[in-house]
């Protein structure tokens, strides 16, 4: 097991290098020179040249990439053009808020998605099943920024139960987590339903029924346990969806997280910040996928890591 983890961690390195190269290429293919932008509109050619030299923009691209990676290894992501503070620092102050939002959304997604999926699968093709699946289709099709705004409208403006924005207290996270989690829970519900239906017709379930195991126990212990692998896979994949959706949700709810920081950086053309934050989020996603892979073994003892 430890060997497997080590191997997987090593395998992450090429992916992360690829991700950082891609980020680097994307940001450096910006039309126009970032040095012009930093030096200001009315800068002379000389001033622009000085900025270029200071930032190393006059060196060949591979050299620039090399020094960027050396910086990354030391935790240095460059300085934000907007605030002149290190990007890494800016990201770390915003990280707790984003991770809190994503985690709470995962909770919402798993609770709602599993419940709806199980309810559907218990009586396939019943009214309840059809209604649940129809609702989940609506859920998948709903833009998360719209559902967020609708939640604000109802729970902040009309009912005045919860705040419409901010990210300092737990109550600030309730509406955003519901908005973000519900969109993914629909995906999970559909998958849970089909995974359960695949398992429920197998012989060992019939055997369990034949020996008189209660239906609830059959569903929760025998069926669900065997349907967990695809469910965990989708939870991992949806995590990426949630991280992307956090950009929209944080904007709607004016939360001080990484997602909104990316938007602000894009608006300001703060390229070191954009590059750093996108790389940061991609790295989180890669790590989450590793954790998901490790979970398979915990859920299904048939899977061995060697």
């Amino acid at each position: 097991m430890l060997g497997y983890i080590a191997k997987r961690l090593l395998q992450m390195i090429p992916t992360l290098i690829g991700v950082s190269i891609l980020c680097f290429i994307i940001i450096h293919s910006v039309p126009g020179d970032p040095a012009n932008l930093i030096a200001g509109v009315d800068a002379t050619a000389e001033e622009i040249q000085i900025v270029k030299e200071r930032l190393g923009l006059d060196r060949p691209l591979y050299e620039q990439y090399g020094s960027y990676v050396m910086g990354l290894l030391q935790g240095d992501m460059g300085k934000s053009l907007r605030s002149d503070r290190p990007v890494a620092e800016e990201l770390l102050t915003r990280f707790p808020s984003t991770i809190m939002l994503t985690m709470l959304s995962v909770v919402v997604m798993v609770l709602v998605g599993l419940f709806a999926g199980i309810m559907s699968a218990i009586r396939p093709n019943s009214m309840r099943d059809n209604a649940t699946m129809m609702v989940s289709l609506f859920g998948i099709s709903m833009p998360v920024f719209w559902s967020g705004i609708m939640l604000i409208l109802v729970f902040s403006y009309y009912l005045q139960w919860l705040p419409s924005g901010g990210s300092t207290q737990l109550k600030h996270y309730i509406l955003p987590a519901i908005a973000l989690g519900l969109s993914s829970s629909a995906v999970l519900a559909r998958l849970t339903r089909s995974s359960i239906l695949e398992v429920i017709h197998q012989d060992f379930i019939r055997t369990a029924r034949a020996k008189g195991v209660r239906e609830k126990l059959i569903i929760y212990k025998h069926t669900l346990k065997n349907a967990l692998i695809p469910i965990i896979t989708i939870v991992g994949l949806e995590f990426g969806h949630l991280l992307g959706g956090a950009v929209l949700t944080e904007t709607v709810f004016s939360m001080n997280g990484i997602g909104r920081y990316i938007i602000q950086s894009i608006q300001f053309r703060d390229y070191p910040a954009i590059q750093g934050s996108i790389l940061f989020v991609a790295a989180i996603f890669v790590i989450v996928n590793l954790v998901v892979d490790l979970c398979y073994g915990a859920v299904d003892p048939r899977i061995r890591y060697d």
Partner: protein, 300 residues
């Protein structure tokens, strides 16, 4: 069973088949027609396409013309969906907006189909190092949360509709590459491919004539579902101000400006959101139905 038995049996089966005259496409159509959800999705898509094509004839007002006498009016007989902050008729803007969403969705997905299927087919057909190289690059794209990838591309290209299409096009490429790769791998060692090769067919001929037609089904299904995702993503980008620019009647952008008047005129942001939802729903239902009709066991 002796050889004659077998040949008799085969002959009877062949006779039965020709008697029924049911091609795979016909039985697919039959399954599709029986699927209520798919039919509803199909007709919804038809209606949206109709609205987009005949926008000029249907829309009661000009989508861009401002009328300061009627700003932020709630829905009424004159303005079925109310008016926005410049007194523009929201219904007309929604009607014209369907053109934009459909175009971004369809063009974006076409871009990814061409690039993704191309890469996936080459990867699966030739295998070996080519395969390794292409799929590792796809893996790197997959390491980004997809919305973030689209956002990063648009942030570099700059806001605007064409750039959104390109971003949407790129972000679906890995999905199409994977699907078509596995479809190609599943047929490439079959006898009919070997037969074509032994008759001296070129790689290009084998790919276009024999391999690709066999991977059409999953690509059609995935394309339909991806149009839904593309529309959703594009509206998200516009919502953030990275997509279509004012005064273009883009649904996501309309929703975004409506936020400022949420307390006084909630219809301004509610209605575009509903429009997005129903169009995305239409493509999702159609995609679901197509999957069930083409191959119920398809994992998509």
């Amino acid at each position: 069973m002796s050889d004659t038995d077998v040949s008799v049996q085969v002959a009877t089966q062949a006779a039965e088949v020709s008697y029924q005259r049911r091609s795979p496409w016909a039985s697919m159509l039959r399954r599709f027609r029986k699927n209520k959800r798919a039919l509803v999705g199909f007709w919804m898509v038809v209606v949206f396409v109709g609205i987009a094509v005949f926008a000029q004839a249907i829309a009661p007002y000009d989508p861009i013309e401002q009328n300061m006498d009627v700003i932020l009016q709630p829905p009424s007989a004159d303005h079925l969906f109310g008016t926005d902050e410049y007194g523009r008729d929201i219904l007309s803007r929604i009607i014209y907006g369907s053109q934009i969403s459909l175009m971004i969705g369809i063009v974006g997905v076409l871009i990814s189909v061409v690039i993704g299927v191309g890469l996936g087919t080459v990867s699966g057909y030739f295998g070996g190092r080519t395969d390794m190289f292409i799929m590792r690059i796809m893996d790197i794209f997959m390491a980004f949360p997809s919305f973030l990838l689209a956002l990063a591309i648009v942030s570099v290209l700059g806001p605007g509709m064409v750039n959104v299409m390109i971003a949407i096009g790129i972000f679906s490429v890995p999905t199409f590459a994977r699907i078509s790769r596995s479809a190609v791998i599943s047929v490439k060692n079959k006898e009919f491919i070997e037969a074509a090769k032994s008759m001296g067919a070129s790689h290009a001929r084998v790919i276009f004539k024999h391999v690709l037609p066999n991977s059409v089904a999953p690509i059609i299904v995935l394309s339909t579902m991806r149009i839904a995702t593309a529309i959703l993503t594009a509206s998200g980008l516009s919502f953030l101000g990275m997509g279509a620019q004012p005064p273009t009647p883009e649904w996501g952008a309309m929703l975004s400006t409506g936020r400022e008047y949420l307390r006084t005129a909630p219809h301004v942001s509610t209605i575009p959101g509903l429009a997005i939802m129903f169009m995305v729903l239409a493509f999702n239902m159609l995609g679901d139905g197509l999957r069930d009709a083409l191959d119920p066991k398809m994992k998509l």
